[in-house]
Subunit: 275 residues, 2 copies
DNA sequence: GTCGCTATGTACGGTACCGCACGGACAATT
DNA sequence: AATTGTCCGTGCGGTACCGTACATAGCGAC
């Protein structure tokens, strides 16, 4: 073991083919990511992309009047700063560290060079970006149709999947900002979950007691995001005939073990479309 | 004039460098897109990408219980089927024609070949994808914080920007599905707008009478999406030093003329929240 | 015409969430 | 021990939207 920290703790970095990984390795810089740190501001220029290892970062969209909502959660499965390789340089979103930890960063310019090669690194990143799009879209629907309690469950599970332990440090006030609701709404929802014995919390410290219970209280949005992530980021079944041999991406997975089918309904498939 | 229809009516196609455009041209197939047609189903495999010219398509996320919400609108400024080049093959969203018209389609395989070249076509498409991400994210926040009436204005303006005329055919019931609210809610909101003299409608036909008035009734989400689109899709200021000379993308614009700054003052916004 | 269908209007109770206010519980500081 | 600040609980009126039900109005088919 070389050290306590390793870039391979980030699943995207770990999934890169050895050659590409080694090319990037000397430029990866380990940085601490304290809670509340703003990786980038809405519209601000990005100088680095970040690969979290032990931290979690929220993508927030902030309205003019200060109201906000989290539209995606990124942890050690992902990357921050996709607009670097998407071509836009900036985005209207704000990235805030939600759970303190570490991560590796890379100068934006180096990633653009990878973009230009259009090799497996880009393909991996674009594929990840699609999982992010799924997360954003599902968040939009969830905001429209589901209760605060359901959304709190979703948020807890998504955060938990990106952490090594079963507890997280987060005040209800901050969670309210993430979900775009009142703090009192979170108090009530969290109180319910605690009364049900699913979680335990006090003064900014939340511990999950019954993960299975949480998964049965959450809305479908959680499993849709999770399953779509797994589908996209698992080893590709076969090389596309049009592309040169696809490098086996290995498996880029969450920690979480989704109970086989959260809600025991007839149509197991999360995306069942009625004809 | 060669014909009534031209691929250049789609702004993305029009923005491609001549060489790339000519390579794709023989494979572009003009197709009618009748209202209600499902371009692809959630999770279904995509065989083509679509470039709308005179039609508008909605990206819908559908929940298990049938409830749905539109997370993006795509018209002649865009493309449908981004998961083809993002690498995922499918998405959990459904694409439905919202306003009848025409479009060009292209076999998925051909676009993947472009992906592999990683040339200006891919860069253009990825940049467009980022505008789509903005639209999705803003929709998520809008769903959380703004009233049905504001969202209806947003929806009308976004749709209008993609149509040649100032009227559209759409029942309140369908709009309700898009916004993810009850039909009655749309009836009430639309009634208000009509009473204000902003629109006129009857039996599925909506005519916008006062576009400026609409823009002062809409939430900020509309202009955020629009301005970000303009920023990303206008001619690139300068070639990135790291890339070979960037092809001038021309201008890929909406039709709409956004009043210089929709809300006259900062705190004009009707959605007030505490700081 | 009149029948039937679709689109729109209206009404009414229920509820989830909001904005606000205040009180108590805990932790760190002095 | 007292103070201060943060975090959480609770109550109360207000409102935007929901679910349901039913009434009207346009419009085509026959």
């Amino acid at each position: 073991m070389p050290s306590l920290h390793s870039p391979k703790q980030n699943h995207l970095l770990a999934a890169m083919p050895a050659e590409e990984f080694n090319r990037l390795l000397p430029h990866l810089e380990l940085v601490p990511m304290p809670i509340g740190e703003v990786l980038y501001e809405s519209g601000g220029r990005l100088n680095h992309v970040y690969f979290p290892t032990t931290s979690i970062v929220s993508l927030l969209y902030v309205l003019e009047n200060g109201a906000s909502a989290e539209i995606a959660i990124v942890g050690n499965e992902g990357i921050l700063g996709i607009s670097i390789f998407m071509g836009g340089e900036t985005t209207p979103s704000r990235a805030v560290v939600q759970s303190a930890g570490f991560g590796y960063r890379l100068k934006a310019q180096l990633l653009k060079r990878e973009f230009n090669r259009a090799g497996p690194v880009l393909r991996l990143l674009l594929r990840y970006t699609q999982t992010l799009i799924t997360q954003m879209s599902q968040t939009a629907v969830c905001n429209r149709h589901h209760t605060v309690e359901q959304q709190l469950c979703r948020w807890l599970l998504l955060s938990l999947d990106r952490l090594p332990s079963d507890s997280l440090n987060m005040t209800q006030d901050l969670i309210a900002n993430m979900l775009g609701v009142r703090r009192e709404g979170v108090t009530e929802a969290a109180g319910n979950l605690q009364r049900m014995g699913l979680i335990k919390y006090s003064r900014g410290h939340i511990k999950v007691l019954d993960r299975v219970g949480l998964e049965s209280a959450v809305c479908e949005c959680y499993s849709v995001v999770k399953l779509e992530f797994d589908r996209l980021m698992s080893a590709l079944p076969k090389a596309d005939p049009d592309l040169e041999a696809e490098p086996d991406l290995g498996k880029v997975g969450f920690k979480g073990t989704l109970i086989s089918n959260g809600a025991s309904s007839a149509s197991d498939s999360p995306a069942d479309a009625n004809p």
